[in-house]
Symmetry: C2
Subunit: 324 residues, 2 copies
């Protein structure tokens, strides 16, 4: 059926080129900043967020294509801006095989460059000429920042409830997917049931995506990940596989508490990370991700059964199938 693993992207590959072109730094931008934007675009991923927006937009033949492209560019540019500041906050020096901005720029310059990219995202959002989209956009940015701050505060809080994890990944990932698909529907229709369903699709897709990311942190290929297995736990971030593992092995919390205190505690942590990766906690976590995938597909049922709905369903399957 599909010519390659991302056939769902074929339907919108021309649209994504327009999005890509829009995101390029304009000539008049201060040169070092333009260079930074180019670097950030080159280190970008598969553009799944703009892809969801463009695919949802396909359901509405009368949608203003230019505004939809502006929306998709706003979403991906906002995502890029959050990565600039996240990499700074985490001290990450590489992303997808490219050096991060903070690897070569000072803290101050990195902060300001990230702010500029935020502003560009807001400008693209304004180009949708739709006030409701702009409200969704600003609200989503608040949710993302608040989520990142909660994550900082929850570091090494080993006793947090599982709800804290779900709230965190909503802020970190699902909120932006939800904003992408909801906003695309807002640009295409006045039907609130459809708008709400498209938001649900994006939300559930984003939750599944992040849970899968958190699985890959335990079972992924270090070369593909570009970082050591278990990085989240090493940094003190408790993810869903850990919650599942702790249910069966409550004593493991002592190893996490001891980590970083010397006396072989770090070797114990390495062993724990390997144990989690080989444990049934991984399959239990995947089940959780699959439940979100099912909910995402369920949200699509309100839409006509066409190639775009199939592509969105394929995309949902893909996020839990991908190896990275």
């Amino acid at each position: 059926m599909s010519s390659h693993p991302h056939a769902f992207l074929d339907l919108i590959s021309d649209d994504l080129k327009l999005v890509e072109a829009k995101m390029q730094a304009p000539n008049e931008v201060f040169q070092p900043l333009a260079g930074a934007i180019d670097l950030l675009l080159k280190s970008g991923g598969k553009r799944l967020r703009p892809a969801t927006a463009m695919l949802v937009g396909k359901f509405f033949p009368n949608i203003d294509k230019e505004r939809l492209v502006s929306l998709a560019a706003a979403i991906e540019t906002l995502h890029t801006a959050t990565l600039v500041h996240d990499d700074l906050v985490d001290g990450s020096l590489m992303r997808r095989g490219h050096p991060t901005l903070n690897a070569t720029w000072s803290t101050g310059a990195t902060v300001l460059a990230g702010d500029f990219v935020f502003a560009r995202a807001a400008y693209f959002a304004a180009e949708t000429d739709n006030v409701r989209v702009m409200r969704i956009f600003a609200q989503t940015l608040m949710t993302i920042c608040e989520g990142e701050l909660r994550q900082l505060y929850d570091l090494r809080n080993w006793d947090q409830p599982k709800e804290a994890y779900f709230r965190r990944i909503y802020g970190k990932t699902a909120a932006l997917f939800a904003a992408a698909t909801e906003s695309a529907a807002v640009l295409g229709t006045d039907d609130e049931a459809v708008i709400s369903a498209m938001r649900d699709y994006g939300y559930n897709l984003g939750m599944a995506f992040q849970i899968m990311d958190d699985i890959l942190d335990f079972v992924g290929d270090e070369v593909v990940l570009g970082k050591p297995v278990g990085s989240d736990l090493r940094q003190g971030t408790v993810t869903l596989p850990v919650f599942h593992y702790l249910q069966a092995h409550p004593e493991a919390i002592q190893i996490m508490r001891a980590a970083g205190r010397g006396n072989g505690a770090d070797e114990a942590l390495n062993q724990l990370i390997r144990d989690i990766g080989r444990s049934p906690a991984i399959e239990a976590t995947r089940e959780d991700a699959l439940a979100f995938v099912a909910a995402a597909k369920d949200a699509l049922r309100i839409m006509p059964d066409n190639i775009y709905r199939q592509a969105l369903a394929d995309l949902a399957d893909y996020v839990v199938r991908r190896s990275m």
Copy 2:
């Protein structure tokens, strides 16, 4: 005539209370973040930016008050967000007698808190329900960030042209004043000549304001300034008094170049800062500021001659009269 030195604020003191109330952190915000917002509001200044927006709004009796208040809150909140990141970039620990956020928070938390405040500003801007205002808002944020980056790049560049200074203070200060007054006019009228004049007023007011700030850095009271006299030059930022001083004393550039290299170079810099503060360069710089004040008042001539126009003229006079 005026009951106190800021009589121009009396006309809008009730409006500014609405702006202040809007800026308060809502209850549902993550508690540490709410605390940070409260601290930032307490360390706020005279709210001159929202004041200009509210005063311009007074010319238009049919303006939607709630949207105008949203605009004013967006402008001041954006200003606050830029200060959070500026203080981080500059390593400033105090602002207006209160500790800065970066004085007590980690770099990461400060970056994210600033991002959250940016997002709040964008949300207030969206509440104006006016797409043109939102475009101005996003464009202004880009201008501000690009200006701050240029300032970082221009540090210790002692040979820069005077135009670099004017471009910098446009980005740093005048762009936001211009956005405040232009946006208020956009909310009040379709008359492009009036909108353009109000933008000119804000631009010129902002330029005068920043030039005066740069004078005060040489002649202000250290207690009121909250920092040592000559801080800009010590940090390598070339301001207008320095350009004027160098015209009469080109040899002084050697002292700047040598600063920070030991062997009495820093004492020479201290002496230079005192010399500049007592030199005719200060008066020459004040003349430049007064020219911008005159241009600001000139821009007001298109408006009806009423108490609001008088208040805006008084405000322009005030920015070059203030001691801080």
